[in-house]
C-alpha cells in the first residue's frame, strides 16, 4: 500500500491539487461509462488498484450487475470528466475476483486504516482520486482518503443532491483527509498482504507507545496480524505499552513460539506481569518455549505478588563488585548495549551479593577510567525490602526523589531494582 519510495517528486507535486481534477469515490461509483462512439456501456460499480503495478493508479473499473461484473482496464480509457468516463475501445472482459486487486469500495470505504503520520486509527469516509493525463489518455490516481465531516457529508447526500450542489456545500465543512502515502492498511490475511504489497514496516517505525495506542483501537485479527509481522524487539516494546487486558488477548492469539519470542525481548518485569495475568497453562507453555536465560529472569519475578516491591522490580540491572573501577563498569555496559538505554545507577555489591552502594551513572563522567567506583557512590543508599507494600515503595520514591530503588531481602542481598517508570505507571492505573 502507498508509495514505498516515500517523498518522491511525484508526491511533492501533488500536495495541492485543483479541486476540478478531483473525483470522489462517492461520485465515481455510479458514474456513466461510454463507448468510443457514444454508446452507453454501464455504470461504474467499483474501482480496483493493483498495488503491484502501481501504488495509486486505478488499474481497472468494474461495471455490471451484482451477478456478472465486467472489467475495463485503465489503458482503455480515453477521458475522465466529473460525470463521465469515455472509453477508447469497447472490448471488456468478465471480472473474476482477483486477490491482487484492492477494491476501493469494498476494501477501503468504511474500514479502519492507520494514519502513520497522525499516528492514529481512522475510519474511511470517502476516497478522493485525481485525474492524471498520461500518454494521451486519462488515469485516476488515488489522492487522499477522507476521514472527516466533509467525506461524511458526501456519503450522506450522495444520490440525494446533485454532485454540483454537494461540491458547493461541502467547502463550508472542514476537509479532514490523509494523503495516500500516509495511509497504512492492516490486512490479517498473509497471502493478501503479499499480493497487495501491504507491509507493517512503517508501523514498526512508530514510537512503541503510539503503536500500542493504535493496536488498542484495532480489531483482534488486525492486532494479531501486526504482532505476527513486526520485528520481535519492536513487538516487545509495543506490547509492554498495551493495556493489560488487550495484552492477554494478543498473546492468546499468537502461536506459542511466536509469543515466547516476543516475551523474551520484553523487560523481565513487564514480561512477568503479563505472564501473571495469563492462565497457568499458557504462561507455563510460553516459559518453556523461551530461551533459558530470559525465562529464568522472568520466573524469578513471577513468584512475587504484583503489589509488593518484589512484584514491581526488574532483575535487569547492572551490579558490579564494590572494588570495581569505572572502566570495568563501562566495559560491562558495552557488553550489553540494551542496558545503556535506561541505566541510571550502577549497584555495588560485596562478595555475598549484598548491596553496598549505588553510583549514579552521571558521576562516571566526572572520573577517570582507572579510579575505583566506590568513592562516587552515595554514602547512604536507600533500599526497600522485597515484601514492602506498593504504597511504601511510592512513598520512598517521593521522599528521596529516586530514579531507581534497589530491592533487597532481609539480609541485604540485592534482588532487583524498581525504576521510576514503573512507579509512575502504577500510580496512573491506581488513579483510574
Amino acid at each position: 500500500m502507498s508509495d514505498r519510495g516515500g517523498g518522491t517528486a511525484e508526491d511533492m507535486a501533488t500536495t495541492s491539487v485543483d479541486l476540478d481534477r478531483l473525483v470522489y469515490l462517492t461520485e465515481l461509483t455510479g458514474m456513466r461509462l461510454e463507448g468510443p462512439n457514444g454508446a452507453r456501456i454501464g455504470r461504474v460499480r467499483e474501482a480496483a488498484v493493483a498495488p503491484r503495478e502501481h501504488a495509486r493508479r486505478v488499474s481497472a473499473f468494474l461495471f455490471g450487475d451484482s451477478r456478472t461484473r465486467f472489467l475495463v482496464r485503465h489503458d482503455q480509457i480515453a477521458s475522465i470528466s466529473s460525470d463521465l468516463i469515455v472509453l477508447s475501445d469497447d472490448r471488456f472482459v468478465p471480472y473474476y475476483p482477483d486477490d491482487s486487486h484492492l477494491l476501493l469500495d469494498r476494501d477501503l470505504l468504511d474500514q479502519q486504516i492507520v494514519d502513520v503520520n497522525g499516528r492514529k486509527v481512522v475510519r474511511v469516509n470517502d476516497v478522493a482520486l485525481r485525474v492524471e493525463r498520461t500518454n494521451a489518455h486519462d488515469e485516476l490516481w488515488v489522492h487522499e482518503v477522507g476521514v472527516g465531516v466533509q467525506g461524511a457529508f458526501r456519503r450522506l447526500t450522495e444520490g440525494i443532491l446533485p454532485h454540483r450542489a454537494i461540491r458547493k456545500l461541502q467547502v463550508r465543512l472542514p476537509n479532514n483527509s490523509i494523503p495516500w502515502e500516509y495511509c497504512n492498511m492492516v490486512e490479517p490475511d498473509p497471502q493478501r498482504r503479499l499480493k497487495l504489497l501491504i507491509s507493517h514496516d512503517r508501523l514498526g517505525e512508530l514510537h512503541p507507545a503510539d503503536l500500542a495506542d493504535i493496536v488498542e483501537d484495532l480489531g483482534p485479527a488486525e492486532r494479531e496480524a501486526i504482532f505476527e509481522t513486526l520485528d520481535e524487539e519492536v513487538a516487545a516494546d509495543a506490547l509492554e505499552e498495551v493495556d493489560p487486558k488487550i495484552q492477554v488477548s494478543i498473546v492468546h492469539s499468537l502461536d506459542r513460539d511466536r509469543a515466547a519470542d516476543i516475551v523474551e525481548e520484553m523487560e523481565p518485569d513487564a514480561a512477568a506481569d503479563l505472564l501473571n495475568t495469563l492462565p497457568d497453562e499458557d504462561s507455563e507453555g510460553i516459559l518453556e518455549e523461551m530461551e533459558d536465560e530470559p525465562a529464568a529472569d522472568v520466573e524469578e519475578l513471577i513468584e512475587f505478588d504484583p503489589d509488593v516491591a518484589g512484584g514491581m522490580m526488574t532483575n535487569y540491572y547492572l551490579a558490579v563488585s564494590q572494588d570495581a573501577t569505572v572502566a570495568e563498569a563501562v566495559e560491562q555496559v558495552r557488553q550489553d548495549k540494551e542496558l545503556a538505554r535506561t541505566l541510571t545507577h550502577i549497584f555495588l555489591t560485596d562478595e555475598k551479593e549484598h548491596l553496598v552502594a549505588a553510583v549514579p551513572v552521571g558521576r562516571l563522567l566526572l572520573s577517570e577510567g582507572d579510579e575505583p567506583l566506590k568513592p562516587l557512590a552515595f554514602l547512604d543508599t536507600i533500599r526497600v525490602d522485597l515484601l514492602a507494600e506498593r504504597s511504601r515503595v511510592v512513598e520512598l520514591f517521593d521522599k528521596y526523589n529516586c530514579y531507581a530503588l534497589p530491592v533487597v531481602d532481609e539480609v541485604g542481598e540485592l534482588f532487583g531494582v524498581i525504576t521510576a517508570d514503573d512507579v509512575i505507571a502504577s500510580l496512573k492505573t491506581r488513579s483510574k
Binding site: 468504511d110 474500514q111 461524511a152 456519503r155 483482534p220 487486558k245 488477548s249 492468546h252 483510574k432
Partner: protein
C-alpha cells in the same frame, strides 16, 4: 505464594467477567422499566406476569448474540454495522439511537427527581446535582471503580423483593398468573404488553453489552463464562421485575385498579402498607435511575462516535475527542433540562421513547442476525438453525408488537 496467586487471579477473573452482562441486565430495570412494571401491576394486577417468561427468553437470545459477536469479532456493534452496511445506514441508526437514548436519559433523571421528591427534596436541587455527579464520574475518569461499586450495589434491587413481601400480595394468584398466558385484544392491554417488551429489550443494551465485552478483552475462548453471566443477569432482572409487578399489584390493584402517572406514585401507594416498603421502593427507584443515568449517556456517546468514526473515550482529552465530549455533555444537560422545564409532558415523552425503542429494536436485531450468521465474520460461532428460528421469531414478534403500538399510539 502460587496458591495465593491463583486465588487472586480467580477473583480478578470473576470481576472481569461478572460485569458487562450482569450490569446490562440490571440497568435494564431503570426508571422507565420500574414505571412500566408498576403501571402494569397497578392497572392489570397479576395478569401480566406471564409475559416475563417469554420476555426473559427474548432478552437472553438478544443479549447472548451481542455478547458472542463482541467476543468473537472484538468489535463493537456500531463498528460492524458501519463496516458491513455503510455510512448512511449507520448514520440513520445512530441518529435514531441518540433521540431514543436522550428520552431514556431524561426518564432516568425524572426518576432521580421523582424519588427524591418523595423524601422532600426539590427536583430543582436533586436533578442538577445528579447530573453533575454523573458528568464528573466520567470526566474524572473513575468509571472503572464505579462499575465495581455498581456491581456490589446491584444487591440494592433486593429492596423490591422485600417491599413486595411487605405488601402481602396474593402469592398464589401471582404464581398462577406467571404460568397462565392471557391474550386480550383490547388496545390498552396490548399497549401494556408492548411496553413491557419494549422496556425489557432495549436497543442501547445491545450496543452497550457488545462494547463492554470488547472493552473487557473477553475473547471467544473465555466466552462461555460470559454466556452464563448473560443468562444469570437476564433471569435475575426478570425476577426483580416480577416482584415490582407483584408489589404494585398488591398495593394498588387490589385496592382498585387504576393507572399511575410515574414510578414514584407507585411508591406512594405503598406508604399505607408500611413506611419501610415505601422507603425501599423509592430508594430502589433512586438507585436504579442514577445507575442508568450514569451508563446511558456514556454508552450512547461511545456507540455514536465509534460508528461515525469520531475519536472517543474518556482517556482522551477534550481537544482530542470533542465530538465525544460534546455529545456526552449535551445528553446529560438536555436530559436534565427537560425534567426541569415546567409543563413538559414527561410521561408522554417517556412513552414516546419506548415506542421509538420498539421501532429501533427490530432494525438492530435484524442487523445483528445478518451479521452473526456470516461465516467470514463469526467462523464456527454462527447461530445454529434452532437458535436462528428462536431469534427470528423474536424479531417477528417484536415487529408485530411495535407496529401495533405505533398504530395504537397514533
Amino acid at each position: 505464594m502460587a496458591l495465593f496467586r491463583k486465588l487472586r487471579r480467580n477473583v480478578a477473573l470473576f470481576f472481569a467477567v461478572l460485569g458487562p452482562g450482569f450490569i446490562t441486565a440490571m440497568v435494564d430495570n431503570d426508571a422507565g422499566g420500574i414505571f412500566t412494571y408498576s403501571e402494569a401491576g397497578a392497572r392489570w394486577g397479576y395478569t401480566p406476569l406471564w409475559t416475563l417468561i417469554p420476555i426473559t427468553l427474548a432478552l437472553i437470545v438478544a443479549q447472548e448474540m451481542s455478547a458472542r459477536m463482541g467476543a468473537v469479532t472484538g468489535k463493537g456493534l456500531s463498528d460492524l454495522i458501519r463496516e458491513e452496511f455503510g455510512f448512511r445506514m449507520t448514520f440513520g441508526v445512530m441518529a435514531v439511537l441518540v433521540v431514543v437514548n436522550l428520552a431514556n436519559v431524561m426518564a432516568n433523571f425524572a426518576g432521580v427527581a421523582g424519588s427524591l421528591e418523595l423524601f422532600g427534596v426539590s427536583r430543582y436541587i436533586s436533578a442538577p446535582i445528579g447530573a453533575a455527579l454523573v458528568w464528573l464520574l466520567v470526566v474524572k475518569g473513575t468509571y472503572n471503580s464505579v462499575e465495581k461499586i455498581f456491581l456490589v450495589a446491584s444487591s440494592f434491587y433486593v429492596a423490591y423483593v422485600i417491599a413486595a413481601v411487605m405488601v402481602q400480595p396474593d402469592w398464589e394468584a401471582a404464581l398462577q398468573a406467571t404460568v397462565t398466558p392471557v391474550l386480550d385484544f383490547e388496545g390498552a392491554y396490548l399497549a401494556m404488553l408492548v411496553g413491557l417488551v419494549g422496556t425489557s429489550v432495549a436497543p442501547w443494551m445491545q450496543f452497550y453489552l457488545q462494547a463492554a465485552i470488547v472493552e473487557k478483552g473477553i475473547d471467544a475462548k473465555q466466552y462461555k463464562r460470559s454466556r452464563v453471566e448473560v443468562i444469570v443477569g437476564c433471569v435475575v432482572m426478570s425476577i426483580i421485575a416480577f416482584f415490582i409487578i407483584v408489589a404494585s399489584a398488591g398495593a394498588i390493584w387490589e385496592q382498585g385498579p387504576r393507572s399511575i402517572e410515574d414510578a414514584s406514585e407507585a411508591a406512594m401507594a405503598l406508604r399505607p402498607l408500611g413506611e419501610y416498603a415505601y422507603i425501599l421502593f423509592s430508594g430502589g427507584l433512586l438507585f436504579a435511575s442514577l445507575f442508568a443515568a450514569s451508563i446511558l449517556p456514556l454508552s450512547t456517546s461511545y456507540t455514536v462516535c465509534e460508528g461515525l468514526g469520531f475519536e472517543s473515550g474518556v482517556d482522551r482529552r477534550f481537544k482530542e475527542a470533542p465530538a465525544f465530549y460534546w455529545l456526552y455533555t449535551s445528553l446529560i444537560v438536555v436530559g436534565t433540562g427537560l425534567v426541569l422545564i415546567p409543563g413538559v409532558p414527561l410521561v408522554r415523552m417517556i412513552l414516546l421513547s419506548q415506542v421509538l425503542n420498539g421501532i429501533l429494536l427490530p432494525v438492530i436485531l435484524i442487523f445483528t442476525l445478518k451479521l452473526i450468521n456470516r461465516k467470514d465474520l463469526m467462523g464456527k460461532w454462527v447461530n445454529s438453525p434452532i437458535y436462528n428460528l428462536i431469534a427470528w421469531t423474536t424479531v417477528a414478534v417484536m415487529i408485530v408488537l411495535s407496529l401495533a403500538l405505533a398504530f395504537l399510539s397514533m
